[in-house]
């Protein structure tokens, strides 16, 4: 079950201050990268909620992000809704879609769950690709950002937009923590540890899975809304399964089931991508090798490794059993 440790607070503090510092000092290119990180961070947060704390490894979250993006684009342009209303609408639509997917896939486990979510994601992808209302291969343009002139903010300024995304991510993180520590979140973690027993204790397991998957889908949808507002243009590629795959890679690189780790992973991933792309066009090879190395090393990603190390160090220093149990928690939560 999720707990904030001193280390997690410290990492959060570092990440937040780095983001705020960058938001105020970076040049245009830096701001673009930061926005990319923040949006990816929100998506992987959503994925870690279900995969790291519920054992529901989803390859459909990229598509849910796409539902949010297309939902916002359609509601705000063709639907004629005010951007804030369209945002809420898009988040609700992706949440509802995720709830249905979660409910249907609740009986599947392991590789079958992965495949089932993949199927739903691809279904959405194909549909968006084919249906004329979504602009097909050409995608949709003409997307606008919300007008926050009333509070003296201009979101068309990239610095302001970064701060907007940062605020949204902070809110979403807080919400994710509350959900994971709520009755629902704890029940889901119980299901991940022992589904049979939770059922035997009287829990309607599929409802819990669907509810959390739906909440996670709302977060993924919001990340899609922000992505649409960021690029102001969307294409079906957003829903492709490789987006989900990449998100899963980021969660693993960061540390599954640590919530903070995936944020670290998102930052590392985007920065690495830009740094390596500048050096070589074979950026996928580097990511592939890093991914294989991380998984083979058996560490739970970057942050999981740091947690295990600091716990070891603490244990050696004080021989205090509490610290050992923290490592075990990190492992068992994963």
């Amino acid at each position: 079950m999720f707990r904030h440790t001193a280390l997690r607070y410290a990492a959060l503090g570092l990440l937040a201050s780095a983001a705020v510092f960058q938001a105020f000092t970076a040049d245009y290119f830096g701001l673009e990268i930061l926005t990319e990180i923040l949006i990816l961070a929100m998506l992987v947060l959503a994925l870690d909620m279900v995969a790291g704390f519920g054992g529901m490894v989803s390859l459909g979250h990229g598509a849910l992000m796409g539902v949010g993006a297309y939902g916002y684009a359609l509601l705000s342009t063709m639907g004629g809704l005010a951007p804030p209303v369209a945002m809420v609408g898009a988040v609700l639509v992706s949440g509802a879609a995720a709830w249905v997917i979660g409910a249907i896939c609740a009986r599947s486990h392991g590789i079958y769950f992965i495949m089932a979510t993949l199927a739903f994601g691809q279904m959405a992808y194909s549909y968006v690709f084919e249906a004329p209302i979504f602009g097909g291969d050409d995608g949709l343009g003409g997307i606008v950002r919300p007008d926050l002139g009333a509070v003296g903010m201009d979101l068309n300024d990239s610095r302001t937009f970064v701060l907007f995304c940062l605020a949204a991510l902070a809110l979403v993180y807080a919400a994710a923590v509350v959900i994971l520590q709520s009755g629902l979140g704890r029940s889901m973690t119980g299901v991940m540890h022992n589904e049979q027993r939770m059922r035997a204790l009287g829990l309607t397991v599929w409802r819990v899975k669907a509810d959390v998957f739906g909440l996670s889908g709302m977060i993924a949808g919001l990340s899609g809304v922000l992505a649409a507002q960021h690029i102001l243009y969307i294409s079906p590629g957003l829903l492709s399964w490789t987006v989900s795959g990449e998100a899963l890679v980021v969660v693993i690189l960061g540390g599954l089931g640590t919530l903070v780790g995936p944020l670290v992973g998102a930052a590392a991933f985007v920065v690495l991508k830009h740094e390596i792309s500048a050096l070589t066009t074979y950026w996928h090879l580097v990511v592939g090798v890093i991914l294989i190395a991380v998984v083979m090393s058996r560490a739970n990603g970057i942050f999981g490794w740091i947690e295990a190390r600091s716990a070891q160090w603490g244990a050696r220093r004080s021989a205090d059993p509490l610290h050992i149990s923290q490592t075990e928690e990190a492992r068992s939560d994963a």
Binding site: V57, I104, C105, R107, S108, H109, G110, I111, Y112, I114, M115, A116, L118, A119, F120, Q122, M123, S126, Y127, F129, E130, A131, W241, T242, G245, L248, V249, I252, T281, Y282, W283, H284, L285, V287, G288, V289, I290, L291, I292, V295, M296, R298
Partner: protein, 289 residues
Amino acid sequence: MAIDLGFWTLQALNALQLSMLLFLLSIGLTVIFGLMHFVNLAHGALYALGAYFAAWLAAYGGFWLAFLLAPVAVAGVGVLLYSGLIKRMRKSGPMAQVLVTFGLIFALLDLTRIFWGDLPQVLDAPAMLDGRLAFFGIEYPTYRVFIIVLGLVVLAALAFVLGRTQIGAMIRAGVDNDAMAACLGINVEKLFFVVFCVGCALAGLAGAVAAPLLSVTPEMGLQILIPTLIVIVIGGLGSLKGAIAGSLIYGVVQTFGAVLAPQLASVLIYALLAAVLVIKPTGLFPAKG
């Protein structure tokens, strides 16, 4: 009416040809999973590798050399993968295995680009298979007939090996219960190794025979991966019967869907997969109850 019948026969053949190609890919993947509980997402990348090897070898010795050697070359890559990575991942959970093979997809994708560049490679069908065959009042490309026949031959051979030979019995025992099989004195590790390599060879074979139909690009592995996974999940992991059923279902739904309901064609197969998973969460013919 005669034209109609010819049209449907043509579609049926198209469906069968697609099914056979998918069968070659999915059978390796599904038996590897059944035996080792290992989902090799890089299976599609091995297929792409087969196509590349074939295009490359054909430049030296023509199609038939490529046809024979590309599967061997891919099996060789399989040997490297098995001893370098997969053997060590045997004890890890499915999640770790999915991710390692996901990393492999990335790595192999760029490796093919490094060796062969970004331009699509071309492999021509041999002259003797280049024409069209006329039967039942229709004409059909000889090469596609060749793929159908090849698929059926491989199917028959595998059915024979799995059903009638000792190694087949060992594989079936291993799929059923690998711990028990090990107790019976079967060298399970060696069995895994052989099956893995044969699976790789079949993926390479599929890539080699698919190459003349498509242009050979690094992405072809990614494009075929999803259909292959759909086939084995619909059919049920680990079984020959499942791979056959899944391939046929996919081929028919895809081909006839495109003709009968073009707007829905692409969504149809995913909807079917979702339906199967809801009704039978472990596929139609799982190897184990």
